[in-house]
């Protein structure tokens, strides 16, 4: 401990060449083909978008403190713009790209043992598509904004006088292609760039999750593309495919939209589940329980995700036959989800649990995902859904899943791989405190909304009856608590860049390949071909006082002599 120089700058000549110091200057980043740099660029952009989306969330919550107008100048119309932007930014700019594009880009090829993704130029192109899509979406603010909600339901979206609808739709269309190309790249990478010894069932579970996500990205997002294109044409030229007064069918739009957007929910949650599998196993120092079940349940969820879109439309006039069918299949999604949760619980059982920040986030995930998942059952039930549809119950449910699970998983992953990405350790105590603040704030905000919704408060409303006010006040206070937790997180993570302890190659005792290369990783990821073994076998991992990190004990390392160490397979 005494040898650590806390004032050492981020990139010094004393440290070995890494991807951050390999080349220098703005252009070396703007035109980089290195998956790690692209991942970092995504991460920065996503976190900025998260901040912007968060500001809109706080504005929405503040406005709802009292019935009627609360913030001077925020009329019902402005409020509509606020929640629409909050939703669109958080879904399309933050959650969808956060784990696959940001963390996935950085970690996935290293974890796989590859030098890069299969198509590095396409990877950079996706990033720029993301950037242009984001600019379009946000520029719609200057062009009159859009107040359709992130779902762009017809006929409102084709008739609203708000001027920014078409730019926003174009932006989301472009973002969709960014997502498609990322997914395409990852599928090819997983298929073709695995080193010798890295068989399908030796891949870390994060890779399985990313792979399942990529399948959904590739197969669902094009339908969103064509839907938005038709909506643009419908709005601009009134062609009459979705417009009922022109012989079109607005329910058709909802079918189209949810054919993408339901799988999109799994684009958000699946990679988070992958991260949780890593976090729980590494920080409990115990072999993951039921590896194959977790891996295959990811694929099962990916397949199910295409068969449940109609559960968003139970009250839209969808036929009773499809309602029943979709309700049934929606219930079955609980099976692979529960397989995962039970396996994580079993992994924790008798593990050496270290309650550091990533683990706290993983445990938060388990709690929040269980609540989010189980309330989904209420909404998948046809008759209760009639009562709960479009109320705050739905809002609370999908925030538990999309924020409480997907985003919390992403932030947990960010803490887990932060030493690898930056080469610095953050302040562990502040990390734990921030995690607990976020957890408390989250539950105060959204658990309250279950009560609000089951008592009948509709979502997206500007005004409400006075009897709902107490819940709104509690929920708003919760959102402030949560925001302070995130601000604290931003503070200590940024501070770690300048004054953090130098990270060892393996700070947590992980066994997968990214912990075998230095922190931060060298430009080419691996100087020599990494040895692939069982990435959840922690028997050979030992704490090293001099390294201030974990090392592999050569005496116990089963991959040392036999590269294909078949006996380690479970």
């Amino acid at each position: 401990m005494t040898t650590i120089n806390l004032s050492q700058p981020l990139d010094t000549a004393t440290r070995p060449d890494n991807y951050l110091t390999h080349t220098r200057g703005f252009m070396s980043w703007a035109f980089t083909l290195d998956h790690k740099r692209i991942g970092v660029m995504y991460m920065v952009s996503v976190l900025i978008s998260f901040f912007v989306g968060g500001v809109f969330a706080l504005l929405v919550r503040t406005e709802l403190l009292t019935p009627g107008q609360t913030i001077p100048g925020v009329t019902a119309d402005v409020y509509n713009h606020f929640f629409t932007l909050h939703g669109a930014i958080m879904v399309f700019l933050v959650i969808i790209p956060s784990i696959p594009a940001a963390l996935g880009n950085f970690i996935m090829p290293i974890m796989l043992g590859a030098k890069d993704v299969a198509f590095p130029r396409l990877n950079l192109f996706s990033y720029y598509l993301w950037l242009f899509g984001a600019l379009f979406t946000v520029s719609s603010l200057l062009l009159g904004g859009f107040d359709t909600g992130w779902t762009f339901y017809t006929p409102y979206s084709t008739t609203t006088p708000a001027g920014g609808v078409i730019p926003a739709l174009t932006g989301v269309f472009i973002l969709g292609f960014s997502s498609i190309f990322t997914g395409l790249n990852f599928i090819v990478t997983v298929h073709k760039l695995r080193p010798p010894g890295m068989t399908w069932f030796r891949m870390p579970l994060f890779l399985w999750a990313i792979y399942a996500t990529a399948i959904i990205q590739v197969l669902a997002t094009p339908v969103l593309g064509i839907t938005l294109l038709l909506l643009i044409v419908e709005r601009a030229f009134n062609i009459g495919i979705f417009d009922p007064s022109m012989g079109g069918d607005p329910v058709l739009y909802q079918h189209f939209f949810w054919f993408y957007s339901h799988p999109a929910v799994y684009i958000m949650i699946l990679p988070a589940m992958g991260i949780i599998s890593e976090l729980i196993s590494v920080h409990a120092h115990r072999h993951i329980f039921g590896y194959k079940f977790i891996a295959l349940s990811s694929i099962a969820i990916a397949i199910f995700s295409f068969l449940v879109w109609g559960h968003h439309m139970f009250t839209s006039g969808q036929s009773p036959l499809l309602n029943t069918l979709f309700s049934l299949i929606s219930f079955s999604v609980a099976i692979p989800s529960a397989v995962k949760v039970f396996n994580w619980m079993s992994t924790l059982y008798k593990g050496n649990i270290v309650l550091n920040t990533p683990m706290l986030y993983a445990l938060s995930f388990l709690v929040l995902f269980t609540i989010g998942g189980l309330t989904g059952i209420h909404l998948a039930t046809l008759n209760t859904d009639v009562h709960l549809h479009d109320t705050y119950f739905v809002v609370a449910h999908f925030h538990y899943v999309m924020m409480g699970s997907a985003l919390i998983g992403m932030i947990g992953g960010l803490h887990h791989w932060w030493p690898k990405m930056t080469g610095r350790m953050y302040n562990e105590n502040l990390g734990r405190i921030a995690c607990i603040i976020v957890f408390i704030g989250f539950n105060v905000t959204f658990f309250t909304q279950f009560f609000l919704g089951s008592q009948g408060m509709p979502r997206r409303y500007y005004d409400y009856l006075p009897e709902y006010q107490i819940y709104h006040v509690i929920s708003t206070i919760g959102s402030y608590i949560m925001a302070s937790g995130f601000l604290l997180t931003a503070y200590y993570l940024l501070a770690s860049l300048f004054g953090g302890r130098i990270a060892p190659a393996n700070p947590w005792g992980g066994r997968s390949l990214e912990w075998q290369c230095a922190s931060p990783p060298p430009f080419d990821n691996f100087a020599t071909q990494p040895r692939v073994g069982d990435c959840y076998d922690f028997t050979a991992i030992r704490w090293d006082e001099k390294e201030q990190g974990y090392v592999t004990d050569p005496a116990l390392d089963s991959t040392k002599n036999s590269q294909f160490a078949a006996k380690n397979l479970h």
């Binding site: 009922p244 329910v251 079918h255 036929s319 036959l321």
Partner: protein, 144 residues
């Protein structure tokens, strides 16, 4: 590695008539044959349009299109010799489109009976009472 090329690229990769080191070389006659078949099928399918065989018109038209598409995929796009995984990717995408189509047709057929053009049943009366003078569209239930 699976790569077992026996070609002589060392002797100069630019020799006309050299063999590719990767991929499949489709013989010219086969390409010509497939091209001609596609043209013939087009002529046939246009001719069938002018004969009334009732429901079968669309069946024939789409059947011929399916045969043509299969020919293009197998021979022009080399799927016949390609990895089966590529075929799987392609087939899955088509299956998803068909799945969506089947669900949507099933759905629209069912709720069509409940659809009507214009206002909800008692909208007119409600509007007359609460909003005199508001523009009211006329209502007539859907009758197929």
């Amino acid at each position: 590695m699976s790569h077992t090329a026996t070609t002589s690229h060392e002797t100069g990769g630019k020799t006309p008539g050299a063999h590719p080191i990767v991929g499949h070389l489709v013989p010219t006659w086969l390409l010509m044959f497939v091209g001609t078949s596609l043209l013939m099928l087009t002529v046939i399918t246009v001719a069938v349009r002018y004969i009334d065989i009732g429901e079968f018109n669309i069946v024939v038209a789409l059947g011929v299109a399916l045969v043509k598409a299969t020919l293009v995929c197998l021979f022009f796009m080399h799927l016949r010799w390609d990895r089966s995984f590529n075929t799987l990717v392609f087939v899955v995408s088509v299956v998803l489109v068909l799945l969506m189509m089947a669900f949507l047709i099933m759905d629209t057929n069912q709720y069509r009976a409940l659809q009507f053009d214009g206002n909800a049943p008692n909208a007119e009366a409600t509007l007359q009472a609460n909003a005199p003078g508001a523009p009211v569209a006329r209502f007539k239930p859907y009758s197929p």
